[in-house]
Amino acid sequence: MIDFPIIRVVSKFMIPYILLFGLYVQFHGDFGPGGGFQAGVIFASAIILYGLVFGLPAAKSVAPEWFVEKLIALGLVIYAGTGFTCIALGGNFLDYDVLDHHVLPGFLPHGQHLGIFVVELGVGITVTSVMIVIYYAFSARERRA
């Protein structure tokens, strides 16, 4: 679709804002509507739009396949790791109250806020990378007779 100037210019203009909006939805999810699931899909849709307009190789050079594939597992590891960290700190699985700390109060989140922040980050990473990988898998497949 790179031959259509309107699509090319408009999507070039939109993609940074879509990415920014994805980050906003991810990190502002505790205070407004949003969270890891939504942010993941929005972030992935920016990459998918890039791939649709500029072709699959261009998208793969932005988000290399091997890297995105490792991110799928990383998100889940972050989520489960938070749970085990809570156990290691003496709480129950995913009991964020034990994550309380007193470093930079008012700036760094702590306790429940920190736990939710990290967990949502894990969800966001997994959802983003799964959506991108699924898109890659479908569009790399050539049609056979």
């Binding site: 205070f31 407004g32 939504q38 993941g40 959802v127 799964v130 699924i134 479908f138």
Partner: protein, 179 residues
């Protein structure tokens, strides 16, 4: 049937009609992609059913989405001097003791700030919130739904590559020939 019950149940009926349309597509269509589309429509209707059940209406009070108002403003102490953030602290009719404590706390903050908290005290907005639980359940269901849809579509691509068709009856015939 009174008009009240009619309008009270109307939403469910609409959702059931949508659901049944999706169901019809699933069972009547022989095309695999059409079947997945039907499943998608069915799925979206189920989300709508849950969300409809979670909605709360009230003739007097304002009902809004389960995002508490003024919560963020309070988290930075310097904002409390403005007063209006605290005035928006929300109440359920059956508010717990803890909430009352929180309000007392807020009032104390106000009078400390020297802005005359008493004037704001009766401005406390009566706000009700719709149920957050259906939202939570459907949120995860949507994303899991797209993941499973992608799996179904991947299987369809493989079926098309091996059988050369995505029509159910043709696939069955090919299977019979092989036997």
């Amino acid at each position: 049937m009174t008009p009240e019950t009619f309008f009270g149940l109307f939403n469910y009926w609409i959702v059931i009609c949508l659901m049944m349309t999706g169901f019809y597509i699933v069972i009547s269509s022989g095309n695999l992609i059409k079947t997945v589309i039907g499943l998608n429509i069915f799925q979206t209707s189920v989300f709508l059913l849950y969300i409809t059940m979670g909605k709360l209406t009230d003739p007097v009070k304002r009902v809004t989405a389960p995002i508490l108002e003024g919560g963020h403003g309070d988290s930075h102490g310097d904002h409390s001097a403005h007063g209006e953030h605290v005035a928006q602290v929300s109440f359920e009719e059956h508010a717990s003791e803890q909430l009352h404590d929180a309000v007392k706390h807020a009032h104390a903050d106000l009078s400390e700030a020297g802005h005359g908290g008493a004037e704001h005290a009766h401005e406390v907005a009566e706000v009700l919130y719709s149920n957050p639980l259906p939202s939570v359940l459907m949120l995860t269901a949507i994303v899991v739904g797209i993941a499973t849809t992608a799996l179904a579509l991947a299987l369809i691509v493989r079926i098309r590559e091996d059988y050369g068709t995505i029509e159910e009856d043709e696939i069955l015939e090919l299977d019979k020939e092989l036997q």
